[in-house]
């Protein structure tokens, strides 16, 4: 048994509403799994089930091979970090860190040692005697992590720990969490709806929708080979461009009106001839050029040009829809300019329009 967390057939209903549906999830020892999905898809609910904060309707949960389905939260060997930090406002940082330990009747000296160690790891030593109200957002977040840290748990659960912070701080703390993970080697389950966080932090990402895991895979796999249309559309900002068409010639080519694109380079399953398919192209996998190349380019007209610092996002009208393309920021394009978009079919995704599953 090498899995740190095993979720078996987990179902959770709130009254008549089924929030998690027969879910299975294995997390390996030391793995960093990110739960990603739109608001209300059940991410927090799943996390709360793992922590024992919600009573599940059916199924089993194992942590380190132990069945903890009925165990109390503090008996599960988990630590949890909340979005709103949930620090105890009237206690100092030290009090916050040691409260759980004191309660577990850990000897004083040991508590102090643990607090000191956590403070060192998180670099909050000088803050130990302040109250949470006197801390900045990032510092509070660190204390919240520290509270889990002192308890020497095997599994860390994070519920959107960075979403209350501003962009700059967020990117700093992201790096810090990643480093922490590298240092502690704990198992971590991390909820977010920020893609950048998911992509940068995760060993594996579980993309959820409506209480069901849509795809569980490594970030690059999810980014490059999304399992279905939902995952493809959800991951990546700006979104993947979708072209609704059909495959012809036994799957040799994609056709949309006059446009035909060769699928020779496409990496996927058996394509065959299909009436309705959707071709997904990421903005950075399209190349803007002046010349047309039959079977590889799509003619387009520039609509708008959004410089974003390092690169620029160009919005174009192409194949009857709006598409976006990423170009270096030096390349300014005037609205109305006719151009051609060269498709890198090796990096494209093709979906069946009915089942929405990747072909």
């Amino acid at each position: 048994m090498t899995n740190s967390i095993e979720v078996k057939d987990l179902t959770l209903n709130f009254g008549a509403i089924s929030v998690l549906k027969n879910m299975n999830l294995d997390v390996a020892e030391g793995e960093f799994v990110v739960l990603l999905g739109p608001s209300g898809c059940g991410k927090s609910t799943l996390l709360n089930c793992l922590a024992g904060l919600l009573e599940i309707t059916d199924g089993q949960i194992f942590i380190k091979g132990k069945n903890v389905t009925w165990a109390e939260p503090n008996e599960r060997g988990i630590g949890m970090v909340f979005q709103s930090y949930a620090l105890y406002p009237q206690m100092t940082v030290r009090g916050n860190l040691s409260f759980g330990l004191k309660n577990a009747k850990v000897p004083r000296a040991e508590i102090e040692a643990k607090v000191a160690r956590a403070a060192e790891i998180l670099q909050i030593g000088p803050l130990l005697d302040r109250k949470p109200a006197a801390l900045s957002g990032g510092q509070r977040q660190r204390v919240a992590i520290g509270r889990a840290l002192v308890r020497d748990v095997d599994v860390f659960l994070f519920d959107e720990p960075l979403s209350n912070l501003d962009a700059k701080l967020r990117s700093e703390l992201r790096v810090e969490i990643k480093r922490l993970h590298a240092q502690l080697k704990n198992t971590m389950v991390y909820v977010t709806h920020d893609q950048i966080e998911a992509l940068t932090l995760a060993d594996r990402i579980a993309v959820m929708r409506g209480g069901i895991i849509q795809q569980l895979a490594a970030p690059q796999e999810i980014y490059n080979r999304p399992a279905n249309l939902f995952v493809a559309g959800f991951i990546g900002s700006p979104s993947m461009n979708f072209l609704h068409g059909s495959t012809v010639d036994g799957g040799q080519a994609f056709r949309l009106g006059d446009l035909t694109l060769s699928l020779a380079a496409y990496e996927g399953g058996m394509i065959g001839t299909r009436d309705k398919v959707i071709l997904g192209l990421r903005p950075e996998h399209l190349l803007v050029q002046e010349t047309a190349e039959p079977g590889v380019t799509i003619p387009a007209t520039v609509e708008l040009d959004e410089p974003m610092g390092a690169d620029s996002l160009v919005w174009l009208q192409a194949a009857g829809t709006q598409m976006s393309v990423r170009v270096p920021v030096e390349r300014r394009m005037a609205p109305g300019t006719p151009v051609h978009l060269k498709v890198d079919m090796a990096k494209a995704s093709l979906f069946d329009a009915t089942s929405e599953i990747r072909i």
């Binding site: 939260p73 503090n74 630590g79 949890m80 909340f82 009237q90 309660n103």
Partner: protein
Amino acid sequence: MAEARRVNRMWRNMNAKIAAVPMILTTLVVFVGGTAWTVLYSFTDSKLLPRERFVGFDQYERLWSNSRWLTSIENLMIYGVLSLVFTIVIGFLLAVAMDQKIRFEDTFRTIMLYPFALSFIVTGLVWQWILNPEFGIQSIVRGLGWESFTFNPLNNPDLVLYGLLIAGLWQGTGFVMCLMLAGLRGIDEDIWKAARVDGIPTWKTYIQIILPMMRPVFITTLVIVAAGIIKLYDLVVAQTSGGPGNASQVPAMYVYDYMFQAQNLGQGFAASTMMLLTVLIVLIPWAYLEFGGKKHG
């Protein structure tokens, strides 16, 4: 231009200023004016009608040598402390019980809250009746065969304050429970979760974490309950008339009796002034917390 600016400033938000007039008038004329008037006349020997014959601190000297006044003050302090402690403790306990996702919450809440709809006069009468040794609890228990049972607080000078307390708590705790319940419901759900993950037992979470977090609720409650205690009058009049003897006298009764019955306004005003002074002593720290604290924090 500076002139125009000032004029402009004056006329801006005219409606808001007009709307605040009732409040300003009330505070200035009634509360400040009335208080100042009262304090001023407390230094006179006014009898039935106010008159400006100043006698210095005579009224206060008499006041503080009057055994009824001293009893009243002592009673108010004992009753006040007990009442504050018990209302808040009971209110909080009940709110905690109500917060456990119980069944019939609506029913329980209505039961606890309805006494608040009744006036102190009614409260006093009913409890006088229930505590009456000839009809009430004492006679019932004796009727059950326990002949020596004695429960007659209203006629025992040592116990009469507890008799008042039973009635006062009956009337007021439901409302405090509502305040507390509302406060409990306003606490971030995540705090609870964090405490559970930390393995803190529920009771400990309430005492060590939730209680300190409810400070604003406690302050509101304190203001409301304390205001009620200082004004305590109707309940005493209805339940004990200050008796037996002077054992349940309270300052408000002293004020009223001396102003109107004894026709010694000066003495009544002096007693009022002392009460107001007490209020100020209680309120100044509060005002500091409420307004002063924010500016610096």
